[in-house]
């Protein structure tokens, strides 16, 4: 061949090329095509396949023989390469004559498969390979290194594949599944449909991956997803007894998960699930909030709420892969019923109080984890400031009575509150902590003095706190027993020597004492309030006093005295004092109260102190407390609204009414301000000359620059 091609006779290469071309053509014309057409059905296809493969081999080897032509003659004359020529020949002589028949036969076969026949997809794949390759330009037949297979390479052109096969295939498949879907939707339950649909999708997807061109996959899936998912999503999820609502009600999480997997392919259809999740969660929550029994005890209420949250968190995580829309729906649902219940913020604070005082007995979770969970609930509150108000109160008690299990845990929570609400809401909490620290330091110095904290035989310990920071304390005036008075005086002397100009006042109502009985057989230790100590000290002088006398000697008002006496007469602890008239609980002024000289008890250490604070109360009392706190809360809120208004107007100089209200609502996240409240504060600001209305547009407010106070500075002239 080389010799012939090299010879300058220009006709030789041409002849060679012609030979090459016609050989292939003739073969196909005379042998391949007739043989193919002589068959039908599957055999037709397999014959075609065989011929195609033969042709590939033929082209390959012929190319190898005539390869010299490829190097010079063909490119010089702008003729197609040998491979391309081979391909073209096949196209013209064979393919274009029979491709329609082939395709129809293929579809017949696929339909048969759907009916249940087994079809050799590997072979079909190869036939379709032909369709894909037939349009190649710059084709060349090469041998694959690894497999030894012959493959066609070149510039891809899927024209035939797409026009002849792909479109029809997708339509057919979609048609088929549409019928299937219609059947399923009628006859199957929701979960059954889901499983069938998922299986179908998987099957077709696998088919495409393994046998068809990768470009087909997205188009096919689009069609299938439409008929299987989009068209039926609503009907499917709404099914009676087996649909989404029932899945939620019966807690069938596996089914929900499968449904989610199916619908997630078409995310816009997921609303069919989460829109039904919301009323479900709300209903669960509402039944909790409406339960009067549960509401009696804040701790039970919050525990149940935490449980519900955990359950829903798990549901959204396991069945719905923490999809954003689902998480949002869950949170909104919780917000709805949590905020409908007026007790939630204060109950949550009570729960925190319980946590901080008792710690986690026997629970696996760490304190931090539980605080995180509680905080998640906190974030869902609308009235966050109601929580902080109650929390501050209870925190104060915990600090004063030193009942916190872990100061770290307290500060952890405080820092989270700070991030969520800003420094102003936690400033008091922080100050209280600092106050305690200062108090400790001061009292440490006191104890290091000669008396070592022990004055006239009484071990004395106290705290020094800043007035106004700790809320109002009920503090009845009381004549202290002399020993106590001595202690107080000594400390006062110490304090005044260090802090000139400052005064201290003693809050006896928060104190407690330990007294030892010396007149009884066993040495009992009594833990009593200061007031009770005052009363009992009197009995060192006499055995019996009337109520009137006790009142005179201690200087206590009736209410306080009665409360503390009642505890000393508590039969459960063994009565330390015996009341004269045992028939009525009321104390008459002339009634005699005698010390119990034959007092006896099982334990040696007895606590007579009245209970300071109880979380569990009848609802009416909760209502009252919330009512009392509400006034304080309203004042605080007005201040915050005012501050926000000034801040916004200072920055913007001018703003319209509606925009101003919207901005205030946007900026405040510790509670939801009512437009009426904001309006009132605007009026206050107008009245106080911070704002004014524009003359022409009454709904436009203008910020009035505030007078600045200059302090005069006098300079001394250097030459004077």
């Amino acid at each position: 061949v080389v010799e012939l091609a090299d010879m300058n006779n220009t006709s030789y290469p041409k002849i060679l090329y012609e030979e090459f071309r016609s050989t292939i053509a003739n073969y196909n014309k005379e042998h391949a095509v007739p043989r193919i057409l002589s068959k039908t059905g599957k055999d037709l296809l397999w014959e075609f396949l065989a011929q195609w493969e033969k042709h590939t081999i033929l082209t390959y080897w012929m190319k190898k023989c005539f390869t010299y032509l490829d190097r010079f003659y063909l490119p010089d004359h702008k003729l197609p390469t040998l491979s391309q020529t081979g391909l073209n020949v096949f196209k013209i002589e064979a393919f274009q004559k029979i491709y329609k028949v082939i395709v129809r036969t293929i579809f017949d076969l696929i339909e048969a498969e759907r009916e249940g026949e087994v079809v050799d997809w590997n072979k079909l794949k190869k036939i379709l390979y032909c369709y894909r390759m037939i349009g190649l330009t710059n084709a060349s037949v090469e041998k694959e290194e690894k497999t030894g297979e012959l493959v066609w390479q070149g510039n891809p052109n899927l024209q035939y594949y797409k026009e002849m096969f792909e479109g029809e295939f997708i339509n057919q498949t979609a048609e088929f599944y549409k019928k299937q879907a219609d059947q399923w939707i009628q006859l199957c339950s929701c979960p059954e449909y889901v499983m069938s649909a998922l299986a179908a999708l998987k099957k077709e997807e696998d088919k495409v991956l393994n046998f068809l061109d990768k470009e087909t996959r997205p188009k096919l899936l689009l069609s299938l997803e439409k008929v299987l998912i989009e068209d039926n999503a609503t009907v499917l999820t709404d099914k009676e007894r087996t649909g989404v609502r029932d899945m939620f009600k019966d807690k069938r999480h596996e089914e929900l998960k499968n449904l989610y997997t199916l619908l997630a392919r078409k995310p816009e259809k997921l609303n069919n699930i989460y829109e039904k999740m919301r009323p479900y969660i709300e209903q669960r929550g509402q039944s909790l909030v409406d339960d009067k029994e549960v509401l009696k005890d804040p701790i039970t209420f919050i525990n149940k709420l935490l449980e519900l949250k955990k359950e829903m968190d798990a549901l959204v995580r396991d069945a719905f892969s923490n999809n954003a829309s689902f998480m949002q729906t869950r949170d909104r649902a919780f917000q709805t019923f949590m905020n409908e219940c007026p007790y939630t913020p204060s109950f949550l604070a009570e729960y925190v109080d319980m946590l901080m005082r008792q710690g986690l007995k026997g629970q696996e979770a760490s304190m931090d984890t539980v605080i995180e969970e509680v905080f998640e609930l906190f974030k869902l509150l609308k009235q966050k400031d109601a929580f902080t108000q109650r929390h501050q109160q209870l925190y104060a008690y915990r600090l004063l009575q030193n009942t916190s299990v872990s100061q770290d845990a307290e500060e952890h929570l405080i820092s989270k509150l700070k991030i969520e609400l800003g420094a102003q809401y936690v400033s008091k909490l922080v100050q209280m902590g600092v106050d305690m620290k200062n108090s400790r330091e001061l009292t440490d110095i006191f104890k290091k003095k000669e008396h070592k904290g022990c004055i006239k035989g009484v071990e004395f310990s106290n705290k020094v706190l800043t007035t106004g920071l700790w809320g109002e304390q009920k503090n009845a005036r009381c004549k202290l027993p002399s020993e106590l008075k001595a202690c107080c005086d000594t400390f006062e002397g110490f304090f005044k020597s260090n802090h000139t100009g400052k005064n201290i006042s003693w809050v006896a109502s928060l104190g407690d004492c330990e007294m030892k009985t010396l007149f009884l057989a066993k040495p009992y230790t009594l833990i009593v309030t200061v007031y009770q100590a005052a009363v009992l000290s009197l009995y060192n002088e006499k055995e019996m006093y009337t109520f009137e006398e006790l009142k005179a000697n201690t200087g206590l008002p009736d209410e306080e005295l009665t409360l503390h006496l009642n505890n000393l007469m508590n039969p459960k602890l063994g009565k330390m004092l015996i009341k004269e008239n045992l028939k009525t609980p009321k104390l008459n002024p002339t009634e005699k109260l005698t010390i119990n000289l034959s007092y006896a008890s099982g334990s040696l250490r007895l606590n007579f102190m009245p209970i300071q604070h109880q979380a569990k109360k009848p609802l009416e009392q909760h209502d009252k407390e919330i009512g009392d706190e509400a006034k304080e809360l309203a004042k605080l809120r007005n201040t915050i609204i005012q501050a926000q208004l000034v801040k916004i107007m200072k920055g913007r100089r001018k703003e319209k009414h509606n925009e101003l209200i919207t901005e205030v609502i946007k900026q405040i996240n510790s509670f939801k301000p009512e437009p009426a409240m904001i309006k009132q504060q605007i009026e206050w600001l107008i009245e106080s000359d911070y704002l004014m209305r524009d003359d022409k547009d009454k709904s436009l407010y203008i910020y009035k620059p505030q007078p600045v106070i200059f302090t005069a500075v006098s300079y001394t002239h250097p030459t004077l």
Binding site: K656, H657, N658, P675, A676, K679, Q680, I682, E683, I686, E687, R693, K698, S699, Y701
Partner: protein, 229 residues
């Protein structure tokens, strides 16, 4: 020498004033001397002024208009310059049109929705705030002023006064007073926007009005239609 000349010039000027010169407002100086020799017109002298105009000092709204035209800046007093302002504004140049100026006062007071009336209305409140330590108008005074200034022009003021009494309001603020002229007609006709920027007292009045007054008006119209003339 020089002093005498100087005094002579001053005497001449005084005489010119007394003869009623036509310079705008100048008559005010002469007028002032008619009523008092003191620094300001106040107390009894004030009564002289109102009597001179044929007005009742305590019950005539025209007295307030008078003060408005003076641009009075101190409660209960009229300064010399303020009387001059009055004469400038109402073109008073002699005794005749001084007495006749009462009619102009009446016109302003019954001005309804005119610009002048609006300014007068705003002045009334400001004037009562000139008393030391005043920030809002105590409700009884407010009601008196409303009756005096607004009632004849805007009958709905009567309802507003009833509302103030019924809801036990203690005082009326400047912002509320200033906006009365605009808001009251809106409430009457029913075009009041509760979500608007109006002072919240009007939100309250609006709902009170709808509850207590609208029904009655409807029933009134029904009555008249039942008895055709």
């Amino acid at each position: 020498g020089i002093n005498a000349e100087y005094m002579g010039i001053i005497m001449k000027k005084k005489e010119m004033k007394k003869s009623g010169s036509t310079k705008v407002g100048e008559y005010g100086y002469a007028l002032y001397e008619k009523f008092t020799t003191a620094e300001v017109i106040t107390g009894e002298d004030f009564q002289k002024v109102t009597d001179d105009l044929g007005l009742n000092m305590t019950t005539d709204v025209e007295v307030l208009v008078f003060l408005y035209c003076c641009e009075s800046t101190t409660y209960g007093e009229i300064k010399k310059e303020e009387l001059v302002n009055y004469c400038k504004k109402l073109n008073v140049t002699n005794e005749t049109n001084w007495k006749a100026s009462v009619k102009q006062l009446k016109d302003i007071a019954t001005g309804g929705n005119s610009e002048e009336f609006k300014k007068f209305h705003t002045f009334v409140f400001k004037y009562h705030m000139l008393k030391p330590g005043q920030k809002t108008l105590e409700i009884d005074s407010a009601i008196v002023l409303l009756q005096l200034v607004l009632e004849k022009q805007h009958p709905i003021s009567t309802k507003f006064i009833a509302f103030l009494k019924a809801t036990g309001k203690k005082a009326l603020g400047r912002d509320s007073w200033d906006n009365l002229l605009e808001v009251l007609p809106m409430i009457e006709k029913g075009g009041y926007d509760v979500s608007g920027a109006w002072p919240s007292i009007f939100d309250e009045f609006n709902s009170w009005f709808e509850k207590n007054c609208k029904g009655k008006e409807r029933s009134q119209t029904m009555n008249t239609s039942l008895f055709p003339l």
